[in-house]
Subunit: 413 residues, 4 copies
């Protein structure tokens, strides 16, 4: 099992990082201990196309502890931690990931994982499963299923399924209840972390505009408010817009918000959310960041085309001058918590990857009985993750008495 990594001498540094993350991933650790006993994935080839980080390393080791034969590539080459990749490879894992790979190099790494013939796939953007459908449709019949971690990936997969092309079941890990907590609390914190690291702005007294009020947008609005910013929300969905207003935020159309914001964060899952019309209205000094999966939410090409000048004024801060106004783009419009901070905190990934591990176990146990299509995470998996997480926090909760349980079901009273 040959690995492709940038620099094998980084293995020790990567190992320390993996260990630090492990210290904050007690849920996954408790699963790993059980997996080592029960070996529920014995002999199954698992292909993973995820951010190659210290947290992912702990997931890979958990699956391996359960008996799986895991091959890993990167869902986003800019997020790859080369030291972690080196450590995994040094420990005998199969890794195909080099930070900063161009599109061609990256595609070759994905192909290397496809070539292993995985029966379970773990995706963060649906790239691995798409590659299998394209290059190796022969594998699909024998597959137990895949998991998908992002909204963006699910949109792709559902469109694919609507056209009748999806040939295996996929579990929407991203839509589990415990994952919603991650979007809200994890990305909420880490997106702001990325903005502060790159700009060192003071949020108190300033106005932050969140475009998109899904779970992640809610988290960003909540944390920006918690850090003292005045928050404006832009939405296209009336239900979400109303919730934002009831949550106490000002809700405006994006063009109106463009004139008010000091910081803008896109997190809609859509494209061209901030574009020429908005740039034209923004204040001198405005900061633009994207927290959505793909780098298409801010029209960077359009911004560059209209600018009189551009230069890097701080690491990861590109300043575009438009008619005397300076607009500061963070991390080239790529997802700011990954590109400019360290992505999700380990405690957040602990939940995501506990879901991944238990879902993989569930797929193995089912032995391929699910129909092709996108399926929800089984509720018992979701509850098991919550229960393990509460235990890790030392939180105890109540249980219903038998009589209360009967009342709840409407059987008495």
């Amino acid at each position: 099992m040959a690995s492709d990594v940038a620099d094998t001498t980084l293995a020790d540094a990567g190992e320390a990082r993996i260990e630090w993350a492990d210290g904050q991933m007690p849920v996954l650790r408790s699963i790993r201990e059980r997996f080592a006993q029960e070996r529920p994935l014995e002999g199954i080839v698992v292909g993973a196309c995820l951010h190659v980080t210290s947290e992912t390393a702990n997931l890979v080791r958990t699956l391996a502890a359960g008996g799986a034969d895991v091959a890993l590539c990167a869902s986003n080459p800019f997020a790859t931690q080369d030291d972690v990749a080196a450590a995994l490879a040094a420990g005998g894992g199969e890794v195909h990931a080099v930070r900063g790979d161009d599109a061609e190099a990256w595609a070759a790494r994905v192909a290397a994982v496809v070539a292993r013939g995985p029966r379970i796939t773990l995706d963060d953007g649906a790239d691995l499963l798409a590659a299998i459908h394209l290059a190796r449709p022969d594998l699909l019949e024998g597959m137990l299923g895949g998991t998908e971690e992002t909204t963006t990936g699910l949109v792709r997969l559902r469109a694919f399924h609507a056209e009748g092309k999806l040939a295996c079941p996929v579990i929407a890990v991203n839509e589990a209840m415990t994952e919603r907590f991650n979007d809200r609390f994890g990305t909420g914190q880490s997106a702001l972390d990325g903005i502060l690291r790159t700009t060192n702005l003071l949020l108190a007294g300033h106005t932050l505009v969140v475009l998109g009020y899904g779970w992640t947008g809610k988290g960003i609005a909540l944390r920006a408010d918690g850090l003292g910013a005045s928050v404006i929300v832009c939405e296209v969905d009336p239900l979400r817009a109303l919730e934002a207003r009831m949550d106490g935020f000002e809700v405006l159309p994006a063009l109106a918000a463009a004139e008010r914001g000091d910081v803008f964060v896109t997190v809609t899952g859509g494209r061209g959310v901030l574009r020429s019309d908005h740039f034209a209205r923004m204040k001198d000094g405005a900061v633009l960041a994207n927290a959505g999966h793909f780098d298409v939410e801010i029209d960077v090409a359009g911004l560059a085309a209209e600018a009189d000048a551009a230069r890097e004024v701080r690491p990861l801060v590109e300043q575009y001058t438009l008619g005397g106004r300076r607009l500061n783009l963070l991390a080239g419009g790529r997802v700011v918590n990954l590109a400019a901070a360290e992505g999700h905190p380990a405690a957040v990934m602990d939940i995501s990857f506990a879901l991944q591990a238990l879902t993989a176990e569930d797929l193995a146990r089912r032995g391929g009985d699910l129909e092709p299509g996108v399926h929800a995470v089984p509720e018992e998996v979701d509850r098991e993750v919550a229960t393990l997480k509460l235990a890790s926090l030392g939180v105890q909760i109540d249980t219903l008495s038998e009589e209360q349980e009967r009342y709840r079901r409407g059987l008495v009273g």
Copy 2:
């Protein structure tokens, strides 16, 4: 159409109250204006078993404007506003509701509505629909359907359906997204309003225990925190417990919380949530309130049985002495926002009743094509309510461009 109300001379006072509420119900008003043009409920008998308040009066008038023939009784006789009942009756409506009715008198009022042979029912606890099933099963075949406003009612109806006994479709108004906002923001505020009116306690510096972290429990926790209380949450569901913890609240088993709280609020939908074991651990001066639909969450009989003495120390505050400690029960354990304050603010009921009105219209339009069972509010009704509400708040939002809409569906990009 004979009405039964407590005192017809209160009509003028009731009319002023209805008008005040109407001033805060712009969504329902805009529906009423359309209904008056379109008459979508022409000639349909609608039976409503709801809290008889000024807001309900505006719903009744909206349905009537749409052509319906409405008969109203009270879902909870302690919540009836006699002046409002008088005003409705004076205006030619049919009302059977007297504040403080005992169980027998109340049942007779419900029976009077059943006797009208409603084809659509509006329920707040499923009592009217239950009465029809019991007393007039012949009506069920011709029914267009019912709506239900409470979790408690839905539990009853689903248990009923599971036994194969539910003979008409019921729409779970309570589970619409816009209703969730009401549970959170409306009951969150009004439950605390009830507690402050009865006790005049300062929340800052004190500890409030919320038992149950459903939508309403979340709202109470949020508002108690916003008023400066330290909040402890008790739950039996690990997903909800985890969310409470991530929301920043302390989560404890109820017995442990019993020793810490200054104020306790039950809102689980269950029974016997606070009982002997908890009373025994509470501090001198503790305040006990219930914000759930039924008065079974606090074991009042058990409290009375164990107390050395009981007396009313302020209006709606009954003080029980147990071994030298004084426990203060609010409103006899009945739902505190209705029994001790004025229930939901009109702006909240505006959304609920807009949902009711549009759902009734939808049931009429369908002409009885739904299967027996509990159904969700159609998403277009939910979105229409949100859209009307945003308009009433003067909030404008964006729409996707055609290209963005295609991207969202995964057709490009």
Copy 3:
């Protein structure tokens, strides 16, 4: 000691109310117990011109326990609780207070207290001390001093002193640190309580304008935000305006805010804060409340003069119609937490009155050695109140080690 009260038969109800308040005033109770032992006010005549409420009754009893001979009148006759007055009188106290007294009757009650020749005065608006200066200047030389509870009273007293007319020392109880907490947390909560009781408005989704960002204004803004309102602050002081902005609130000139607010609360200590220009810009349905001491902040006479019509639409809600718009004035522009709710929670008054009691003790101990003028509460009194309050909450804190204490003073390190 003849008392003037409205109805002596209310004594039992008043006694229950006083006892309820006592249950929430553990700090004052602990002082009362010590006073009963030490009798620091033995034989001293104390005149009190305060809100005649259940909490004040506990202060009066504390002073009496310390040996004082107390005579009480009302600082605001609309705040008088007749049942409490009756209970105090029944217990042998001297009370001159009847709810709703007109100006003449009220002045006679104050005169009755002056006639007792107090050596210590307790004021809430400086009326008693002003009356002594006017009617009985002969008493001033023998006075030990007075206390004042309100900003408004202090403005009067300092202006008086600046003209060389103040002939005795006055302690600015209102400016103690522990009192600041009361302004913020107590009035913050109770002003909103008064608004909710009178209007039953839902704050979430609505905009509340606070005019004045002193301690009380801060509390109202904090609690309105905590209840889900969008908050706008108006100020004339740049330091306070900047603090409001950094605290995350929108800051606007009052004329601009007039167009945006759903609810307005004045709390500046000034006059004519909301007047013709503002009324002309307000939205239909706007609610106007005052939380400042005097009823001069909203120009009620001007509002009445410009209105086409006026009527009471709910208890304590007067609706003025101006060119088709309806403006709703609460409690006639009088201080809303007293006039429309129950004033400060007992736990808040516990701190105020602990300060009053300990300050009275301090004045007695000094024996008249303070110069005429306005003085700060001695820091040791302030700290003692905080210490007693923490004890009552069961909160323990640390003390510095001897070495740490020396380091703090810069003696080492």
Copy 4:
């Protein structure tokens, strides 16, 4: 004017950084523009011993624009930005600062500034003024005065003055109202920024203990709460402890908090706040950070002495193992927002340095008429800064009418 800087080739990078900061310091910039016109510091030698950062560079340039002859050294050599020092030197400024200087080298840099014979000093810890008193007492008589930026420096200076040794006036910039906002909002944000950058911890679901509830401690507690942590406060002052409790935080003695915290932040200004007894009770994985000026709040030597092992697990994270538990010390116990993040955001320093500039102007205008001792910032300086800051935020406020002004002074009404 020879400068000592680490690497003159860094000047361009430093200049970009200074310019970025300038973009966020509109208040200082408006003062600089006025100073360039009015030259209020013409020919005066100003010695500055401050953190050598991009923001300080803008202050130095503002003073120079006003005509001053400025010499700069570092108050903390670990905070020096070598590129900024290079840029200032390249622009003709006098700078004596090299990042990482040891104590001896640092003292020599301070001596170089003393040698210039400053008539105004700007201090951040009182080191420059102390050095003048020690080495060049002859300069003191001619001095116009100094400014001091830290609580710690003021403690030193007041102790010095109490012994009769302070020979010139010092303005306590740190105690201006606008500075309080900085402590709260600036350090509140940046201390947490430092913690997140070093650990990438998720705060939601975890407990953060703040030791010290002064202005900075309040800011840290506020922001930690805003980021979702459960916050515990430890204090020795009953007034501050009570405020923390009323603000909704749990208040505990430090030994009890030691068992509960996941993250600890000291910010007391004292010494040995976390020491052996606390380390012994902490949980495995606890994180220790200091946000106070000096690195004496956490007993690092004691921690090292008791540990079985120590190693760096991430940059700036030293992990000590005590009997199987791992305690993670950030930045060696040095002030975390400077050592692990970028110190105060520029917008915060904008206020501090506007105060410094206007205070220097005030000292020059007075021409030495202040007595030796520690003096408050003149209120008009404080208000001027607030006014300029509001203007920079585009915030307009009201002014009192003449009649309102007279009412406020108690002259009417």
